[in-house]
């Protein structure tokens, strides 16, 4: 073409918003050349959400991943000279919010955001003299909050890429097709000609689903309205020397924010009804009155918000001379779980996404995704944002809209860590779901599955174990929790428990190349006899944890991978990516159901249902084989995530009900209890110090630090091997430890129980930071009913990783003593593992 558009590119990045500019720049920074950056709109503002963003950045989020991306973004914005620090105050109007602000303080401590402080209403007034301090109870101040010029940042990044001769920028170039051949992206077709491309990245914000569809895949997000008005001129801001001179205020309880914008005040809201669109509803650039993502303001949706703003800032908002100069329904991206959509498509090789990213995390995301594209993994763990995380139903328009609508008003919400979604439930039901209902199951959702978290019918166990069950009096810790969980746990430890494990993701790797494929993915040796079960970390190229899962060898050329529902889909993509010629992967998740049977009586129960040998000699720990239970052939796998004798039992989905009924009947004489995931995922696991992906196991920590290094490393190559070998030679920067809380009494005398993610401090209240800059925080927290302690896991520096070392954990604004109970991986309960090997 004579328009200068290259015909070939190493990478085509589609979309010149903050994300596309960042990604393209970081790709060139990491050494890629022939990068082409396109947008259908003009520059510097092509008309997407970046162009109308309020551009302010708050640093503290309860999500570690989101905070890390934001902090990195601010670092880059500062470096580019486009960041103005203003400070920010989240104000509370309610007592519940004041408590939440202490949680914000804790998250700031966990993620290392300093300085932060809690303010009295009077303090807030000092910072923000135009606030009505009488309607607030206090505030949470973050000094590092500020505003950026995101369009300028984009321009600077494009300039750098172009100056290096590595980037070609093509505005007003609309993509009309993305060609996929043999499962791999081949070329991008545009209004200015075609470009053959090795990789293509979709960074088109609200338009991304449309582009993904061109390639036959999904980017599950929805365009949604965020209302914003600009009022001015504000007499107090007359003569403002910069865009912002007062802290940005987030009025958390009304889901609103107010910020100075030069001589004006900008008021934004997440309080209105969710207003969702489809990408097809967005007008073409030339038909948009303002920009394609600035929709006409719907005044009625903002009426209540005006009242709230007036209450909080009457001096400005109530001033008759201050007019509403600009008001829009700004369009931004929402997803079903509030996290971005990043990474390579699970459907199309070479097709990447970086979407549903806001200005505050844009450059950090661009850098992380560029690292992922170039190196295969990123410094910041992105598993919560991985595009491959979605299960099929989660990619539907209806699911995205339902959850985005439900989540929208939680943007500034007080969200409990275990809070469950209300919309689009009952999508995936275990075959014995009706039985669980009869038992009064309280269902939590995992990957769309309805999983019993505990059973109300087990209330009777509370009396039986009255002396061992801890009751919680605080409403916050009692929410989404029941003491019945602890009673179920004790019943399992004493007799036996029956667990619904239907949410497992299960896939087989088969064929002549199967062994080589799983060897490549797994840290542990997979060349094992048929019938062995191997629990193995799966490493990312940097030697951190991509996942952890179990693999059963069912035949010479047949391996069955079992992993959790949450990571299941990204694990599946990971294994598919490691397949060598002659290997195939088949997803059996919806073909198989799994029931767990554990406890000292598990063998007695199983024995009574089968004529097969399930004795310790006949069926050793770490092995699997098919046994007959009545008329069913059941794949039994003798492993445990709760630390007790027993099996995972796999049958075809349609036979699950029969298996449940058989085990239930056989178990009654032995006092079998149905047990929920509260036991499986928390109490049973934590007593055994078993690590969980997403909690202890992330790409930011390595196998040695997690205390999971085996004596030897297999000779075969595997992903992350070089890094792993290096980690084994180094002194670990941190060690995963198990702590127990020594005293739960708060100042008011009420006993409090940490739920996870709280900062761990030295005895004199200092943060513990390792030599890589990683702070110590609680990776998992929960009761250990059999050890009579509340258990915390945390990575500590080697100096602090000393048995009996006394530390502090910060929770809800107070500090509680905790001490190191285990340094390393030795279980707290049954350290010799006699139970699982009984």
């Amino acid at each position: 073409m004579d328009n200068g558009l290259p015909r070939h590119a190493r990478a085509v990045v589609i979309g010149c918003g903050i994300v596309g500019n960042s990604l393209a720049y970081h790709l060139t920074r990491l050494g890629w050349r022939d990068v082409v950056l396109l947008d259908k709109g003009p520059l510097p503002n092509p008309g997407g959400s970046t162009g109308h963003a309020s551009n302010f950045i708050y640093l503290v989020d309860h999500s570690k991943e989101m905070t890390a991306l934001t902090v990195e973004s601010v670092r880059q914005y500062r470096e580019m000279g486009v960041f103005i620090q203003s400070g920010g105050i989240e104000v509370a109007r309610t007592k519940e919010r004041m408590q939440e602000l202490t949680r914000r303080m804790a998250s700031a401590g966990s993620w290392g955001i300093e300085p932060v402080s809690l303010l009295t209403p009077g303090d807030v007034k000092e910072f923000v003299p135009y606030i009505n301090e009488k309607v607030i109870l206090g505030g949470f101040y973050t000094q590092g909050v500020g505003v950026v010029d995101s369009l300028r940042a984009g321009t600077l990044m494009r300039d750098k890429g172009q100056a290096a001769g590595a980037l070609h920028v093509a505005p007003k170039t609309e993509v009309v097709g993305i060609d996929v051949e043999g499962g791999r992206v081949r070329r991008v077709r545009t209004t200015q000609g075609d470009i053959e491309a090795e990789v293509v990245a979709i960074t088109c914000g609200v338009w991304s689903p449309r582009l993904a569809r061109m390639a036959g895949t999904h980017i599950p997000l929805t365009p949604a309205v965020h209302q914003m008005i600009d009022i001015g001129p504000v007499p107090r801001f007359r003569g403002a020397k910069s865009d912002i001179e007062h802290p940005i205020v987030r009025d958390m309880d009304t889901n609103m924010y107010e910020r100075q914008a030069g001589g004006d005040l900008e008021i934004g809201s997440y309080a209105h009804r969710p207003i969702l669109y489809d990408p097809e509803d967005l007008p073409p650039v030339e038909q948009a009155a303002l920009s394609p993502t600035e929709f006409p303001f719907t005044q009625a949706d903002f009426d209540e918000q005006m009242q709230h703003a007036l209450e909080l800032m009457p001096e400005i908002v109530g001033d008759e001379s201050v007019g509403v100069k600009y008001a829009i329904n700004g369009i931004l991206s929402l997803t079903s779980d509030g996290m971005p959509v990043l990474g390579e498509s699970p459907d199309v090789k070479g097709l990447w996404a970086a979407a549903a990213v806001w200005v505050k995390e844009g450059p950090g995301t661009g850098k992380a995704v560029a690292e992922w594209m170039v190196h295969g993994s990123s410094e910041i763990d992105l598993h919560s944002s991985d595009i491959a995380r979605f299960h099929e139903h989660q990619r539907t328009r209806a699911h995205v809209r339902a959850r985005a609508a439900e989540g929208f008003n939680k943007t500034y919400g007080i969200v409990h860590p275990s809070e469950q979604w209300a919309s689009n439930r009952d999508v995936r039901l275990a075959p014995f779901h009706a039985r669980e209902r009869e038992l009064g199951a309280v269902f939590f959702e995992a990957a769309g599955w309805e999983r019993p978290h505990w059973y109300e019918s087990n209330g009777a166990l509370l009396e039986e174990y009255d002396d061992q069950v801890t009751h919680r009096t605080s409403e916050w810790e009692s929410r989404w929790w029941s003491p019945i969980i602890n009673a179920e746990h004790l019943a399992m430890r004493e007799r036996a428990g029956l667990f619904d494990l239907s949410a497992f993701t299960i896939f087989d790797v088969v064929g002549p190349g199967a062994l080589a494929s799983v060897q490549c993915a797994a840290l542990r040796q997979m060349e094992v006899p048929v019938g062995r079960v191997v629990y193995t970390p799966v490493l990312s190229p940097n030697g951190g944890f991509k996942s952890d899962l179990t693999i059963m060898r069912l035949g010479d050329e047949h391996f069955r991978v079992v992993t959790g529902g949450a990571a299941g889909m990204s694990d599946k993509k990971w294994f598919r990516d490691q397949l060598v010629p002659g290997a195939e992967l088949a997803d059996l998740t919806s073909s198989m159901t799994t029931i767990g049977l554990w406890g000292p009586r598990a063998r007695d129960i199983l024995e009574s249902t089968t004529s097969d040998d399930v004795s310790n000699e006949g069926f050793k720990f770490g092995t699997c084989r098919v046994i007959e239970i009545g008329t069913q052939r059941v794949l039994a796998s003798r492993i445990s995530y709760v630390g007790d004798l027993g099996w995972e039992l796999y049958v075809p989905m349609e036979q699950g009900l029969m298996l449940w009924d058989t085990l239930w009947e056989a178990g009654r004489p032995h006092g079998l209890a149905a047990c929920g995931i509260g036991v499986y995922g928390t109490t049973g696991r934590l007593e055994k110090c078993y690590r969980a992906h997403g909690n202890e196991l992330e790409t930011e920590y390595n196998v040695v630090e997690a205390g999971m290094a085996a004596p030897r490393v297999k000779a075969e190559d595997f992903v992350g091997k070089a890094a792993h070998l290096r980690h084994r030679e180094e002194d670990p920067a941190a060690m995963l430890c198990t702590l127990t809380v020594d005293d739960h009494r708060s100042k008011s005398g009420e006993k409090r129980y940490m739920l996870g993610r709280e900062p761990i401090l030295t005895r004199d209240g200092k943060r513990i930071v390792d030599r890589h800059g990683r702070g110590s925080y609680v990776t998992s927290a929960g009761a250990g009913p059999s050890v009579g302690k509340h258990i915390l896991m945390a990575y500590l520096t080697p100096e602090e990783s000393v048995l009996g070392n006394q530390l502090l954990v910060e929770y809800m604004g107070e500090r509680y003593p905790a001490s190191v109970a285990v340094a390393g991986a030795t279980p707290l309960f049954d350290p010799e593992n006699t139970r699982i090997r009984a």
Partner: protein, 254 residues
């Protein structure tokens, strides 16, 4: 003093205008709505006059149910109350619009006395008929001055200034009068937040006039060639200079 302002709900255009498939209307799928810009000045003038002289101001519109948004907009700026002549969304021609407004104005005047001034926009921003104000004035047998860029109260008269080539024509007419105004008459204020909030509870009287058979029929709309051109940013600061020079050179002015 009593003042009425008649307004019309029209689409906000800014981008390229797209017609519906039958070419009889503008496709408003992506558009917001406002009152015609001339009428914004009429509202502003009415508000200023009442602020200065006290009295009662009324905004009227003939339009679909959603046109209440424009009535609230006017009341947010300070108009006291509204009369909404509701339609089912069909376009009314100038003659029938004027007749319906006339009925509403007469009804209001019967109860509350004559309006000293009735403001209209010189023409609506969408159909641009230039009809309604004149027809209402004629029917009421009141003086009417059109296309005004300045309005000054002078006792029981009003001084009206029209912009004409090379100057202004000035008329002084006795009240009550009908005035049609143009953008530039004044600089309309933005609504304040308290104004917006007050507007929510100001009274809107609903009337549902019957639509007479139109004598003027819209056959088809045409989009004039060359519309939808957009401004383009050439950059900012000193860095934009080369691009500006380039444009000037191409235009032959450098």
């Amino acid at each position: 003093m009593r003042i009425a302002v008649c307004i019309k709900r029209v689409p906000i255009t800014g981008g390229r205008i797209v017609l519906t498939a039958d070419a009889r209307a503008i496709n408003t799928q992506h558009l917001g709505f406002t009152m015609s810009p001339h009428e914004e000045c009429g509202v502003e003038e009415a508000v200023r006059l009442i602020e200065a002289n006290k009295g009662d101001s009324v905004v009227l519109t003939l339009g679909p149910p959603e046109a209440v948004e424009q009535l609230r907009d006017a009341m947010a700026l300070g108009i006291d109350r509204a009369i909404h002549l509701q339609t089912d969304g069909q376009e009314w021609d100038g003659e029938s619009t004027a007749a319906a407004l006339l009925d509403a104005i007469r009804a209001d005047e019967t109860s509350n006395g004559p309006f000293d001034i009735i403001f209209f926009g010189n023409e609506s921003a969408d159909s641009g008929g230039f009809q309604v104000g004149l027809r209402v004035a004629y029917a009421l047998n009141r003086p009417c001055v059109t296309g005004l860029k300045r309005v000054t109260l002078e006792g029981s008269s009003v001084r009206c200034e029209q912009e004409v080539e090379d100057g202004r024509d000035v008329y002084v007419v006795p009240l009550p009068a009908v005035l049609t105004v143009k953008e530039g008459l004044n600089l309309p204020r933005y609504p304040s937040v308290p104004g917006r909030m007050r507007a929510r509870s100001k009274p809107v009287a609903d009337v549902t006039p019957a639509r007479p058979a139109p004598r003027l029929e819209l056959v088809k709309l045409l989009v004039p060639a060359g519309q939808g051109r957009r401004a383009e940013s050439l950059g900012s600061g000193a860095a934009a200079a080369p691009a500006v020079v380039d444009v000037f050179q191409k235009a032959g002015v450098l």
